[in-house]
Structures are given as C-alpha cells and as structure tokens.
C-alpha cells in the first residue's frame, strides 16, 4: 500500500518535471528561432541603422527597414494607455478593497476578471465601431483611427490586470497599520492615501508594469484601431494621427513576405526587440513584487 502510493507519487512528480522541462525547451527553441531569424537581417543592414532608421519602407526599391517609427508608435500608444489606465486602475482597486461594501466588491471582482477574458478582437471591433467614429466627430479629425484610439482601447484592456493585482496588494496591507493611523485621529481618506496606498506601492508598481507588458504585446486591437501608418509620430499632434505599432507591423506584413527575404528577417528582428522589451518589463515587475513581499512580511 505504502509502496504503491510512493511509486504513484514518483510517477506524478516525473510527469510534472517532464512537462515543465518541455515548456522550458519550447521557450528556448522559440527564442533561438526568433533571434536567429532576426539576426540574419544584420548581415545586410547594420544593427544601428535598423534601430535608429527613421523610415519603414519595406516594399520600396531598395527597401528601407528603420524601426524608429514603429518603436515610437508602440511607445506612444502604450504610454497613453498607461496614463489612462493607471489612475483609473488604482482608483478602482482602492474602491474595491477599501471602500465598497463587501457585497459590491464580490460582484465587481468577477466582472473585472471576465473583462480580462474578452478576446482582443472583440475589443478591436468595439473600438472600430463605437469609439473611432465618435473620436473623429468629437475632435474633428480626418480619421478616428489614431494613436489615441489605440491608447484608449489598450488602457481599457490593461485595466483588469492593473486592478486585480493592485487590489491584491492593497488588501494585503495589514489592518494593524490602518488601525495605527485611525487611532492617531486620521480620517479614512487620510489613512488610504497616506498609509494604505504607499504601503502597497511596490505591488501597485508591479501591477502597472504587468499592465504595460500586456499593452505593448497587444496586437489585434491596435491593428484594428490605430490606422497603421508607419510614420514617426509628432508630439503632441501624433496622438491624434494614425500610427503603426511593432506588433501590428508583424501581423500585417508577415502574410505577404517571401520566406527568407530581407523583409522576412526584418519582421523577426522587430519580434526580437519586442521580446526583449517585454522580458525587461516582466523582470522589473518581478523584482518590484519581490521587494514588496519582504516589506509586508515583516
């Protein structure tokens, strides 16, 4: 009996180990493939020219592969999304964990999780049909397909991540800290913004980082609402003009390129840069989160 339980345990453990090993191997293979295919571009074009090139004309003769318009497009749309999502996300998280009656919080939390599960094409469709015509009308623009539209949609999409992780961080602030503040005669609001939120700040920063990671990697929605014009966005006018992000570029152009062509390798190079950016963001988020765990543990 004992022996069979033990051998069963051993079998399960081995299986789990094998599965995780396969996952790691797949991840390594994908990275190797991505970086290998991307690096092939730099046989013909110097890496710096690619990174700082101001023009993306992949089909001109000769083609020009400058990343800058796409990189800046991505950064602009993402920054906008963060500016929209962070205040809303933190406010919602504070509301859910500190202000809403428990019953209301219990209804809101699953709704927010459902929001995270809505397919991005649905968000894109909503943006296209509902948001874009209104933006165009409201701001009197030649087209509603703008960086702003992308920021708004990505902001909405990043909200569930930011809300649920911030909410965890805020709820994790121990009651004895809040009581300490209230006992000094602080009001509930003073306690929230001077003690509770600062104490949860590292967790909230991690939430923002992860939300940002999600926004940068998002493809379908941005492709549907940003107009996809590969020009370096001006500031601040570029917010109200079409842009093309790195993700949208890969998705839109991959279908048309001959395998092994320069253009093909350039798209992989974009993918590699994107991979590095999101990896960095996730690492920072992890580090911040760890710091926060130590703090609350003490």
């Amino acid at each position: 009996m004992l022996k069979s339980t033990r051998s069963k345990e051993f079998a399960i453990e081995s299986l789990l180990l094998a599965v995780s090993a396969v996952t790691v191997v797949i991840l390594i293979l994908i990275s190797l493939f991505l970086f290998g295919e991307g690096a092939a571009l730099f046989k013909d074009i110097p890496f710096l020219d690619f990174l700082t090139g101001k023009n993306w004309y992949p089909t001109s003769e000769p083609p020009i592969f400058g990343l800058l318009p796409l990189l800046l497009g991505t950064l602009l749309v993402t920054a906008g999304a963060i500016i929209i999502a962070v205040p809303l996300g933190i406010a919602s998280a504070v509301f859910i964990s500190e202000i809403a009656p428990p019953k209301v919080a219990e209804i809101l939390k699953p709704i927010i999780e459902i929001l995270a599960g809505v397919p991005s094409v649905v968000y894109g469709f909503f943006g296209l049909v509902v948001l874009i015509p209104r933006l165009q009308q409201l701001l009197d623009l030649p087209t509603g397909q703008t960086a702003l539209a992308g920021s708004i949609m990505l902001g909405i999409m990043a909200l569930p991540t930011i809300i649920s992780i911030s909410e965890d961080a805020i709820s994790a602030v121990p009651d004895f800290l809040k009581e300490g503040s209230l006992a000094l005669g602080a009001t509930r609001w003073q306690t929230i913004y001077r003690v509770t939120v600062p104490a949860a700040l590292s967790g909230i920063s991690a939430a923002v980082m992860l939300g940002m990671g999600r926004a940068i990697g998002e493809t379908m929605t941005v492709m549907m609402v940003t107009g996809n014009a590969a020009v370096i966005p001006g500031f601040p006018g570029g917010i109200f003009a079409p842009v093309k992000t790195m993700t949208a570029t890969i998705a839109l152009e991959m279908g048309e390129v001959p395998q092994g062509s320069e253009h093909y390798h350039a798209l992989f190079a974009i993918g590699a840069v994107l991979f590095i950016i999101t990896l960095l963001i996730n690492l920072i988020a992890e580090a911040v989160k760890r710091k926060y765990r130590f703090k609350v543990g003490s």
Binding site: E179, G180, L182, A183, L184, G185, A186, T187, A199, S298
Partner: protein
Amino acid sequence: MVTDTFAEGIETEITVMELNLWYGAKQALKDISVDIPKNSITAFIGPSGCGKSTFLRCFNRMNDLIKSCRVEGDVLVGEDNIYESNVDVVELRKRVGMVFQKPNPFPMSIYENIAYGPRIHGEKNKEKLNSIVEETLKAAALWDEVSDQLDSPALDLSGGQQQRLCIARTLAVKPEIILLDEPCSALDPISTSKIEDLLMELKKDYTIVIVTHNMQQAARVSDYTAYFLLGELTEFGETRQIFEMPREKSTEDYITGRFG
C-alpha cells in the same frame, strides 16, 4: 460589582456608566461602571477573551470600525460624553491615543512616523515638526538610540524600539490619555522594563490605561487595577489592595495563577 471610592481629591479622567457592548447577538461587556483616575496608571487584567481589549477600545471608539459592534451606556472623557452622536471621532482620537499589542510603525522613516500625526492634523511648519519629533522621541526614551538615523526605515528598528516609537508617535498628537493593549507581550524583558520605566515617567503628564497579561507588570507599574471576568468588571481598586487583599475569590485565584 465592587468599586472603591477613591480618596478625596483624586480627579477622574474617564467615567464609564452602565456600559453594555454586543458583537452581533453576543454580549461582550456587561453593565460596566467605573471611574478611571487622572494622571495615574490603571491596569486591566483578566483571562483571555474576558473583554479587556474590547473595553479599552471603547475609550477611543475604535470599536466603531467593527460593523457588528453595538454599544449602550455612557463614557465620559473629561466632561464629554464620547458616545453622543455629535462627537467628532477624529478629535476624540487626538485626545485619546492608543498603542497596540504588536508594534505597528508605518513603513516610512522614523521621522515620518512621528510627524504623521501632527501632519494629518494640519501642522506644516518644518521647524515645529522637527521639534515635535525630537521632543517626543526624548519623552519616549528613544532619542539617544535613533537621533542619528531619523531618516532610516522605522521597520529596521528592534521590536522594543518600534514599540517605543509607537508610543512617541502617539505622544506627538498631544493626547490626554494613552491606552496600551498588551504593549509588551511581543517584547523581551529588557525592552519591557524600558517601557515600564517610560510609563511611570509619562503618568506625570498623561492618564494611562494598560491591558496586561503579566501580573508582575500590573503590580509593578499600575496604581489601580481592574479585574475582568466574562465581560464583567469583577473588581476594581488600588493595585496594592487588589493584589494583597482581593475581595473576590476569582480575583485571588487569577492573581495567584490558579487559573487564566
């Protein structure tokens, strides 16, 4: 219930009249009346769960935070009935400070911890804040240990130092009364005796009420002792009388360690 009437001339700081308290349907405090004298240390003793913390938290209305909690009866702090509907709880908690069982400094610097209270009550003057920080740290016998590291995190301090910081933080809003709920239960003997010395010093200027599980502590520091059992105030009087000649059998059993 047995209450001593104090010797002539002793001023009362907190007057409790027929206080009853419920958590939901469960009654946690039963018909308590007591006068707590000014500029003295009053100890609350009694077995776990008898309502000491609950009673202490009536004096600064921390029980308001608990939804199921309902209070009947009157508590006067000085002349003011603090359970009247027009009472400003913020004002009350400025007058009646509280130190908790587990040291709970905010995750900020030592300086910011002390400045927190005065700041939320509107003090912005940097020099004023500096002098409050220095004064209260001195009053809490912590200044010599931390004066050169005011900007370092309060959580880096030892448990005993953290607890004295919490006392200093309470003093910074200039209360009249300080409530302490088992402030030494998480501390080593040396830290404990530092805090006891501190309390003896502070009672010149403040009225102190302390919940303690430690009979020696109650005997050492307090002037008056209240013994609670099952939500009732069984006996209250001068500490010497309670420890030497308790009127109630259960008080004697508890003090001598026969139960609790």
